[in-house]
Symmetry: C2
DNA sequence: CTACTAATGGAACTTGAGTCCCGATAAGGA
DNA sequence: TCCTTATCGGGACTCAAGTTCCATTAGTAG
């Protein structure tokens, strides 16, 4: 029956193994930022991370798997959210945070590269979905509170509202290339707010 | 001064050269659909297209440039849009079209691969922006008409409304992995409509 | 502290993507 | 029709990504 071989690095994850992972993930992130996903060779990662080439191929095996591990690592680091007590302000804060992240020279390139990875590799795709599920849930609380307070229709799906804020910003980043500035953040927040109030996300 | 060397295939674009381009673009699209952007080797494309390897490397040079050429080819094939005389129905039709395209086994994979290409290569990124500019303009007319008819506030930016329909659908496709069905199309159209009516895209 | 073995990493090897050279072919103008 | 040369394509070559083998190192349980 199932032999259930433990994944590489899971039996003795302390000391050296942890240092190797940290070093490789840092090198991977740097490469993704500077050269993009298509330039993610495991051989070069090993050189930059000062780690044996064999180790990288054995533990991660493919650029997609490495990107997936990086995404899981990022998802594990949670960020605090705002709580102004007013939906419009909360959504605006969220939109500003997304714009700030996507226009940041390092973060913006990193996100683009990780989305590229998710489009090329199924493991990375699953990790990306997990990542956004975590990030959206972190902010969904604001909306749930707003529904409690009667600012939005009862039955409004909080996650859909938060996703509704990010959607136009990512569309600008990935599809149209439109400028992501303060005004774009404002429009994104107002779009989600108008739709939520109209009951688009009820049920 | 500028010698202005014409690009490969521009001086004698007829006959053989055209056949080679057609054959290579078809092979590229097939490979993108079946294996994704990261598997786009020019050597394999040459084999599949039954064209000399040297030719492909000389004319396109990189997977990104090949993807860019494919995007320009796609942008040149325009699609008809609906004209029901009612904004809500027009936006709904547009949303359904996007969902149909993105969930189509071939088209959906192709779009994902081309977006991946645009995230890895600057030429492909510019071509993708041109492509979406064309597609959005094709539909912007509906919204302009609606503004004329008084269905939407004066000064509403038609392109932003159309982009507002697609945004949540692409966000579901690329970020959250949420199901793209008839209901998702409905919500996308209603979101854009609510925001447009609220005047989010005026000015 | 000691034993066991998971995990690392050096070195040699294989394979195929990408480059270069040059003759063959055919597009397009005279 | 003929001529010029843009474009194609076969074949040899290079170099590094990815694989395999095995000796060495160092977690972790006892």
């Amino acid at each position: 029956m199932a032999d259930d071989v433990p994944p590489r690095g899971a039996v003795r994850p302390g000391g050296r193994t942890a240092r190797v992972r940290e070093s490789v993930l840092r090198a991977a992130a740097d490469t993704l930022v500077e050269k993009g996903f298509d330039a993610l060779d495991l051989a070069e990662i090993a050189r930059v991370a000062e780690v044996g080439k064999t180790t990288v191929y054995r533990r991660w095996g493919s650029p997609g798997a490495l990107a997936a591990d990086l995404l899981d690592d990022m998802a594990a680091q949670s960020l605090p959210r705002s709580r102004t007590g007013n939906v419009r302000d909360d959504l605006r804060e969220n939109a500003r945070l997304v714009v700030r992240t996507l226009t940041d020279p390092r973060q913006g390139r990193l996100f683009k590269a990780l989305i590229a990875a998710s489009l090329c590799d199924e493991q990375a795709a699953m990790a990306l979905r997990r990542f956004y599920a975590v990030r959206i849930d972190e902010w969904a609380g604001c909306v749930a509170d707003a529904v409690e307070r009667g600012e939005l229709p009862p039955g409004t799906d909080p996650r859909r509202v938060i996703a509704g804020v990010s959607a136009p910003l990512y569309y600008a980043l990935l599809n149209t290339g439109e400028l992501l500035d303060e005004a774009a953040a404002e429009r994104a927040a107002e779009t989600a707010l108008a739709a939520a109030r109209a009951g688009v996300w009820v049920g």
